[in-house]
């Protein structure tokens, strides 16, 4: 029997060896793959049982913090200002996941970045944990001004520093209370989320960077940029005819000026009066598709801005206008879709932009043609207050040459001093702007009211660029943008430039 017993011993050993090898596979070789499987919530569960850093505004006001609760999940996320920063901080829920800064900076908030862990090690004897606080570029005061100015309107306000890309304020209406969605106790959070997801007004999406709208006349800054960059438009030439409407080639449908006004002239004049006829003609006949596409893409269209938030929308400018139909002398070739091209020149047709994108257009003008990467994080701090990392500002796009930017800067200032954006005038500051009224339909007349602007102390470089969009307001006259969006932008500029 001894031979059999020996063999039996070997067989048992082989069985256990197989188990050992399989355990190596599960626990070492493929452990990462198992941990990363979507339905494996262990990593999340760990995060919800560890302290998490705060999200604070530039002034140090707490926008998100974690409270210890007596439940299976030890920490509950709390947002003291409710909906105020909802679309920036996002929410942080065990069951519903996370968005915004909570998601993008999860590694920093949970303390898993090398710099935070190194810092923890350096304070080894101080008994501190490694989670980090995220300091935002947003200023609570300006954010509140944006919320109050927008009031009950659906729409969005974006304010940023054109020199750095720091987002100073970013508010969107309607919004939601992240406290409710982040609640880990009870079933209410799931119900509320379902309700919010189904709501036609999409309150969970930020109108500032996740939704696109016709930019209307604010897009004329891009059209003007295309003219200047291609050298086909200067401050003095061409002098567009003073007309009530312009009818592009290949169509009989005229593009009318607002309220049937007579409008036309050189660049600054048509900017001040926001002449549809002139900019449509500029796009269709002076420029043609290629300079328009180039200028739009140089300003950031057709590419999602690399902002440090979740799922930013890509603003769109069409890139295909069909084949060349004819090549008239002294004008751009006529394409199959030149009528559409003419409409894109005034920010209609297939042009769609986020308010963030239009703020970046203004920022490019304000910052010598250089658009900086927009961002909401300024610093990462350890719990003891030590700064362990800060956002490295970097350029995103060169929308135009510094010379052309200077021309447009003066042009936009003239829109405030002598044009449709006069409401923005602030004593002691150079303010430039451009209004927009993106028509949605005429029966009943409805439009998105827009304004983009920049401002800085007189004679100095602008320190703020803003975009205000009020969605679906009644009326579609040339003054709608300045009348509705203008006061909102002004209040935001005042809050940012004249604090106190």
């Amino acid at each position: 029997m001894n031979r059999q017993i020996k063999i039996l011993g070997i067989v048992i050993m082989l069985c256990y060896l197989a188990a050992f090898l399989k355990l190596n596979q599960i626990q070492v070789l493929q452990a990462g793959a198992y941990n990363d499987r979507p339905e494996n919530t262990r990593a999340q569960l760990r995060d919800f049982n560890k302290p998490r850093g705060d999200i604070v505004t530039a002034e140090g006001e707490i926008a998100a913090t974690s409270e210890v609760v007596r439940s299976e999940l030890r920490y509950q996320r709390v947002y003291p200002d409710g909906e105020l920063f909802a679309h920036v901080t996002g929410y942080y829920s065990f069951r519903l996941g996370s968005t915004g800064v909570e998601r993008v900076y999860n590694a920093e908030l949970t303390g898993r970045t090398p710099s935070l862990q190194l810092h923890e090690l350096s304070g080894f004897f101080a008994d501190q944990s490694s989670e980090g606080d995220v300091v935002l570029t947003l200023r609570g005061q300006v954010q509140r001004a944006a919320r109050d100015a927008l009031g009950g309107n659906n729409g969005s306000v974006v304010a940023l520093d054109p020199r750095t890309g720091d987002v100073i304020a970013m508010y969107s209406n309607p919004t939601y209370d992240p406290n409710v969605i982040s609640a880990n106790q009870g079933e209410e959070a799931v119900d509320v989320k379902t309700l919010l997801d189904a709501a036609p007004s999409k309150p969970l999406l930020s109108r500032a960077y996740q939704e696109r709208y016709f930019p209307g006349s604010t897009f004329k800054i891009v059209t003007a940029t295309a003219g200047l960059t291609s050298n086909k438009v200067t401050e003095t030439t061409p002098d567009y005819p003073v007309v009530q409407s312009y009818t592009p080639p290949l169509t009989t449908r005229p593009i009318k000026n607002f309220d049937g006004n007579l409008c036309g002239g050189t660049l600054f004049v048509i900017l001040q009066k926001s002449c549809n006829s002139s900019f449509a003609q500029m796009a269709a006949e002076t420029l043609g598709p290629d300079p328009m596409i180039a200028a739009a893409e140089a300003a950031g269209f057709n590419d999602a801005p690399p902002i440090d938030l979740t799922r930013p929308a890509t603003s769109v400018y069409p890139t295909n206008f069909g084949a060349v139909v004819s090549t008239p002398e002294g004008a751009a070739p006529v394409y199959e879709d030149t009528p559409a091209l003419a409409q894109t020149g005034i920010g209609q047709n297939d042009v769609a932009a986020t308010p963030l994108q239009m703020a970046l257009v203004a920022a490019g003008v304000a910052n010598k043609g250089r658009i900086m990467v927009p961002h909401v994080m300024s610093e990462i701090r350890a719990r003891d207050g030590a700064v362990v990392g800060s956002y490295a500002d970097s350029p995103w796009r060169d929308s135009m040459s510094p010379e052309n930017a200077e021309i447009l800067r003066r042009g936009m200032i003239s829109v405030v001093t002598d044009g449709t954006a006069s409401i923005l005038a602030l004593p002691g500051f150079d303010v430039g702007g451009k209004t927009g009224t993106a028509q949605l339909g005429l029966d009943p007349p409805q439009s998105h009211a827009w304004i983009i602007a920049f401002a800085g102390p007189t004679g100095q470089a602008p320190t703020i660029a803003v975009a205000v969009m009020v969605q679906g307001v009644d009326g579609a006259s040339g003054s709608t943008g300045g009348r509705v969006a203008g006061p909102i932008a002004k209040q935001v500029l005042e809050a940012a430039l004249m604090p106190g």
């Binding site: 017993i5 069985c15 355990l23 262990r42």
Partner: protein, 447 residues
């Protein structure tokens, strides 16, 4: 040297051997107790950042029970192998720590069952003073085994829990008679095979071109095994059925040395597995989940998937006792306790568990090999096979090496019947080991 002198000399040698072995056992027991206490304190610190309030009664139980068994060894089986008890105490203690970490109420019960198990162990040592006593009553044990197996199927006392009808309730006490039936049937097989192994080993009967032993000699075994398997298929206890098949084939092969039994066994097993797969939906489910648990991740595959996640989360060194995410895996205190250990002690911890079982199996087989008495030897093989393969079947099920079949991890899992049965099984191995050492102490002393 006269015969009396020689006998006295032998007594002296046996005594010296006994003293040495018991000292070794005590030393190893102390080591095991230290490991368990350390893990217990760490698990409590990890869970609630404080030392457990019940550390003193815990220490009492954890120290007193194995020491009690150790004293019983000194008295009733002084020359037995010193590895068995420390290994069992280590596994039992480790299991207890993790049960306490998962569910305090169950831990109290498990402590109680451990006490019952230790008393069962001592009682077995006292009652079975000579293994041949078991050989004499082999048919009685066969009958007892069969009766124990059918008990859960009897109306009135049989209970179905979690889909398996393997429970019996007598008044307030519920237990799984199948755990004891395994031992009884192992005794029966050993006795029967020793009687017939000469005959079974000789081919006298021809089927076509194949020589086989006369069918009448292995008919009773086939009947017993077939009966057990049928019962277990009806009780839906696939793990035990598998274990039985392995036990039967291994013992038959070890007794006769005929490879053809292995071949016939494998064919028979494959055929019956296929039949079971065709006939029973719960068998099909097990196989489907084994092949791809992600086909139903939140339903039937949930347990296996969560087990794998726990193991993966533990990685090489584990999260640390008490720091894992417990309470996610169904049956985490019984069938899936291995996954919990894997999460909190990591690959290192589960490898230690594997080694403990391997050492236990090795000790058992060494006893079988040393014994000059065929019955003792064969019984030791059977008992070792039970422990080694039961542990392997559940571990392999948890890590998806084999389809999952619910059996307990011997000594580690929560479960009174299993614990008591395994301590009785251990006592039998100790008895065989002691008897073997008394008979031929010289070569052992020389080692």
């Amino acid at each position: 040297m006269t015969i009396t002198e020689s006998a006295t000399h032998q007594q002296v040698v046996v005594k010296a051997l006994g003293r040495r072995r018991r000292t070794t056992e005590l030393g190893l027991l102390i080591l095991a107790v230290l490991v368990i206490c350390g893990t217990y304190a760490l698990a409590s610190l990890g869970k609630s950042a404080s030392l457990p309030a019940d550390i003193v009664p815990f220490l009492g139980v954890i120290v007193a029970l194995p020491i009690l068994a150790h004293l019983a060894n000194r008295k009733f089986a002084p020359t037995s192998d010193p590895l068995f008890l420390p290994l069992a105490a280590l596994l039992n203690g480790l299991g207890y720590v993790f049960i306490a970490r998962l569910d305090g109420d169950l831990a109290g019960l498990q402590a109680l069952w451990t006490a019952v198990g230790i008393f069962g162990y001592i009682a077995t040592l006292i009652v079975v003073r000579d293994v041949r006593f078991l050989q004499r009553y082999r048919y009685t044990f066969g009958l007892i085994g069969v009766l124990l197996l059918i008990m859960p199927l009897l109306p009135g006392i049989g209970r179905s829990i979690n889909g398996s009808r393997i429970w019996v309730s007598l008044g307030p006490i519920g237990f799984q008679p199948g755990e004891l039936a395994k031992i009884a049937l192992a005794i029966f097989f050993a006795g029967y095979l020793v009687d017939r192994r000469e005959l079974l080993g000789v081919a006298t009967f021809r089927i076509g071109r194949i020589n086989t032993p006369d069918p009448k000699y292995f008919a009773p075994i086939l009947v017993a095994v077939g009966f057990s398997l049928i019962v277990m298929v009806f009780e839906k206890d696939l793990g035990s059925a598998l274990l039985f098949f392995v036990l039967f084939i291994v013992m038959l092969w070890v007794a006769t040395g005929r490879g053809s039994y292995l071949a016939v066994g494998v064919v028979l097993f494959s055929a019956s597995s296929y039949a079971a797969w065709r006939m029973f939906s719960h068998v099909q489910t097990r196989v489907t989940i084994w092949i791809n648990p992600w086909s139903d991740p939140s339903g039937k595959g949930f347990q296996v998937i969560q087990g794998a996640y726990a193991l993966a989360w533990g990685g090489t060194t584990g999260t640390g006792p008490g720091l894992g995410i417990a309470g996610r895996i169904p049956a985490d205190e019984s069938d899936f306790i291995f996954a919990v250990i894997g999460e909190e002690l990591g690959l290192l911890g589960v490898t230690a568990v594997l080694c403990a079982f391997l050492l236990l199996a090795g000790s058992g087989l060494r006893v079988a090999q040393r014994s000059s008495d065929p019955f003792s030897s064969l019984l030791a093989v059977g008992l070792t096979t039970l422990i080694a393969f039961q542990a392997f079947i559940i571990i392999a099920g948890v890590i998806r090496l084999l389809p999952l079949t619910g059996v307990t991890l011997p000594f580690v899992s929560y479960g009174g019947s299993s614990l008591v049965a395994n301590y009785i099984l251990l006592a039998l191995l100790i008895r065989i080991s002691d008897q073997t050492a008394r008979k031929i102490p010289e070569p052992l002393v020389a080692r």
